[in-house]
């Protein structure tokens, strides 16, 4: 990454960061070779899909998690254990439900051992700054989501952190509330009233990143790496409808749907290969719905992703797994920020229920190795039955327990739709017979 222009030491310096999550016998590489600098007076966004390790990176910087390798320094001081120079805002707000707004805001000061009168004054100032006047004695459960997150901001700002870390702070809020909170935050930032020197935020919302950040670091998944840095040189306040803004959003979509070089187009959509491929849980209803939408007017089998996402009101975390599943099943192709239905995809969209199921089943067996594997085992066995644990153990050799469970669940639900094989939940047994 570029060094800051001034000769000063960067505010946050991350070098050669690597994080391995140990799971049973296997290890999962979450972050690999991450370098990052954060200078004074900038908002930097970490943009990526869920599970790409960006939240882990934020926690490593905050000192909540030790990295497996690499260094983190804040203002020249290496981070060991929870860092006092930073404060974090959480996606889930993370407020203590049994404490009032005031007590929640004071918690960081209380931990510093500050006198009650002094921390009272500071907390009231922060509450005032963030627009929570009058709510001091309320409990979090009495507040709306937006107000709760304001408490989260006040709690972070009251300790006057050098760096404010934000972990998807707006993603649990509805669209309007999130927008209000974003612009209030930007106003404070632009007016220089934030008692913090820099902001580092994690997001999976492309527009949000372009709206707020001076720099965007795009993360790839499995393992998490920073693939691209994008400087946003638009003046604030930024206009979402500005063609330059739109172009930037388009570019980022294109980069995020880029295939890693050197891999065949369709493989490597999901981490792992063969039966060890980690699959997302995507409902067959959503798959069918998206195919129908894409096949119909105005798309006619071809769509540009940003407007499609906007129309479906889906964030990339919702949309990408669906698209990638369609791609895996060879019902669609995704490239350069566009999606295009294959011939099979078009056929599926026009077909009736039975034909759809048949087509889906064919593609499932042909292109999802785990489904084919289970089917083969069931075919070979005399009883045409096999316990789920057999496959679960196989999966857990190469992925975490949680991912194995999710992958198995995904295959079960797709196989049920395609009537490829049945699964008895109570007994935990796969079989070929379908109750009729």
């Amino acid at each position: 990454m570029d060094a800051p222009l001034s000769g000063l030491a960067p505010l946050v310096q991350v070098e050669g960061l690597r994080h391995v999550y140990r799971q049973g016998e296997g290890n999962v590489l979450v972050l690999d070779g991450v370098d990052l600098t954060l200078s004074d007076n900038e908002i930097v966004g970490l943009l990526g899909r869920s599970g790409c390790g960006k939240s882990t990176l934020l926690r490593v910087i905050a000192g909540l998690m030790p990295a497996t390798a690499g260094t983190v320094a804040i203002d020249g001081e290496p981070v060991r254990g929870p860092a006092s120079q930073v404060a974090m805002v959480f996606q889930t707000f993370a407020l203590f439900p049994w404490l009032t707004v005031l007590d929640n805001v004071e918690i960081g000061l209380e931990a510093q051992g500050m006198l009650a009168s002094e921390r009272h004054k500071r907390a009231l100032a922060a509450i005032d700054l963030i627009g929570l006047d009058g709510y001091e004695s309320a409990y979090p459960k009495e507040l709306s989501g937006g107000m709760r997150q304001r408490v989260g901001f006040a709690r972070a700002l009251v300790v006057h952190p050098k760096v404010l870390l934000m972990d998807e702070p707006f993603s649990a809020l509805d669209v309007l509330t999130a927008e209000t909170l974003r612009s209030d935050l930007l106003d404070l930032w632009c007016e220089g009233r934030m008692p913090t020197r820099s902001i580092l935020m994690v997001t999976h919302n492309i527009e949000e990143a372009v709206l707020l950040c001076d720099r965007i670091l795009v993360f790839s998944s499995n393992p998490g790496r920073i693939t691209t840095q994008i400087n946003v040189n638009l003046s604030r306040p930024r206009n979402r409808l500005d063609p330059v803004f739109r172009q930037l959003v388009d570019d980022i979509y294109a980069r995020m749907t880029e295939r890693p070089a050197g891999r065949p187009t369709r493989e490597g959509v999901f981490p792992g290969t063969g039966i060890a491929m980690v699959l997302p849980r995507v409902s067959s209803n959503v798959l069918a719905g998206l195919l129908e939408t894409l096949a119909a007017e105005p798309y006619n089998g071809h769509a540009d992703l940003p407007p499609l996402a906007a129309r479906l009101q889906m964030e990339i975390d919702d949309l990408f797994p669906v698209l990638e599943t369609l791609q895996l099943l060879r019902f669609a192709e995704v490239a350069e920020g566009d999606v295009r239905l294959t011939e099979a995809g078009m056929r599926f969209a026009r077909a009736g229920l039975d034909e759809r199921k048949k087509l889906f089943a064919q593609h499932l067996i042909a292109y999802v190795p785990l489904a084919a594997h289970i089917k083969r085992v069931l075919d070979e066995r005399e009883s045409h039955r096999a316990p789920a644990t057999r496959f679960r153990d196989e999966l857990e050799d190469s992925m975490s327990e949680e991912r194995a469970e999710r992958t198995l669940r995904a295959v079960i639900s797709w196989a049920r739709y395609g009537e490829v094989f049945a699964y008895d939940e109570d007994a935990g047994v796969f079989s070929l017979e379908n109750p009729s």
């Binding site: 909540l64 404060a87 993370a94 404490l99 918690i107 209380e110 931990a111 300790v159």
Partner: protein, 584 residues
Amino acid sequence: MDIRSVTAAVRTWPLSLGQKGALPNFYDLVLFAFIAAAFAALAHGSREMEAPLASLDLAPVTLDPIKLPEYALRTTLRMFAAILASLAFTFVVATLAAKSRKAELVIIPALDILQSVPVLGFLTFTVVFFMGLFPGSQLGAECAAIFAVFTAQAWNMAFSFYQSLRTIPRDLDEVSRHFRLSPWLRFRRLELPFAAPGLIWNTMMSMSGGWFFVVASEAITVGATSVKLPGIGSWLAVAIDRKDIAAVAMAVAAMALVILAYDQLLFRPIVAWADKFRFEQTAAQQRSRSWVYDLVRRTRLLRRISTPIARVASGLARLRLPAFGEERPRAVPGWLGKASDIVWILLVLAAAGYSAWIAVEYLRATLGPDDVASALGLGVLTLARVVVLIVIASLIWVPIGVWIGLRPWAAEVVQPVAQFLAAFPANVLFPMAVVAIVAFRLNPDIWLSPLMVLGTQWYILFNVVAGASAFPTDLREVSRLYRLRSWQWWRKVMLPGIFPYYVTGALTASGGSWNASIVAEVANWGDTKLEAAGLGAFIARATEAGDYPRVVLGIVVMAVFVVLLNRLLWRRLYTIAERRTRLD
């Protein structure tokens, strides 16, 4: 109405049933060996101390009505002493288990088994032990009675607190570490409030169960030692000896008043207060209510008293107590950690082997295989009683509970009554039943049995009421729309709907019945002795005779039965309830 608190409590599993793995494992055997050996050692030690005990001279308990309030107070004070001891135990032991993996490996299975050991079995040894500790003083007997109540409460409470500590939401844990809360501040601001609803509910339920044991443990005879501590239990014992039915009635009335006061002045206010700690980001629609709590909240006087206390507390909070080491997340063990775990487990195993050997040696000195066989046989008899009674109680209370639960007005009336009845020590009522059995010359083998569920059946009732009240309205409407036939309605709609609640209630009732068997299978009325064949009577008789090896044998056998029943039946039912009744 406390229906919501009941449902909240249902979500925190009683016992360790939330844990995985139903079958008793090797580890249970290990812990069993320890506990059996501890009993054997206690029994052996207490035999030595027996001589000076007989000399203990208490002021005799008289059936003077003027004394009754004082006796009631003494009984109540014992309850409070026990609850304080249980809380202290909970905070120390559960915290240790939650923060240290090595401690956890031993503590949690131990708690699980200790929960299954009959409470009154402890009494035999602890009386002798504590009286030896304070020779010639009443304190020893007091400690023994308090300890009996403690053993009825502590394991459950510690388990609840441990589970809360292990399920602290990740984001709140992160906030606490992020803002570098000191361990003390973390305990005050995060761990205690988060654990409060579960712990308080468990404490209150344990205390309800505790009245039974405090009454049973006040008048004790172990071999040559006979103690009657001033209290309602001793009053009752004297009344039984003298066949004084009026005195028994007075004891029942006094107990009812005590329980009523406990329910109104303590249970309800505290549960209502604990509402504020419920971990829930949305405002509750239905709050637990208590007139006492509302009163307290409104009074200025109390606020004035509490302000300085709060000030002292916040001053204390600012004290930077020496940290017990940096708060660190529980790391996945590396090879070093694994190696030290193995060493630790080997040490535990070696100690367990030794303990088992001691226990077996102790029992073998006086007992043969015949004794074991007869204890097992009697265990089967008591098991049959427990099972039959729970089935009968279920057949009666499930339909009634459902009927009540589906009618909010009825639930509001019945729920507090059921909770009151559950707290009321049934052993105070035993003499009435015994008088009837004697008068009508009934067969004690059959007619003493209902006493075992007399006090515990209410758990089934109020859990079923809670379950039926919480049954989703839309599902009720669906079943009405499709005109489900009555049997179909029970089988497909209502029974699955209340199943988790029912399991909680039946489990509590079954555990309580095993405990009650020790006092229910043997009953006296003056010189008349009634006895039903069973493991409870076996233990009771051995206790009275001061036959320690048989007491140890009886306790171990009963604990084995209870553990097996828990693992083979209740835990499985829980797993089914958990899996079936969830939509996600």
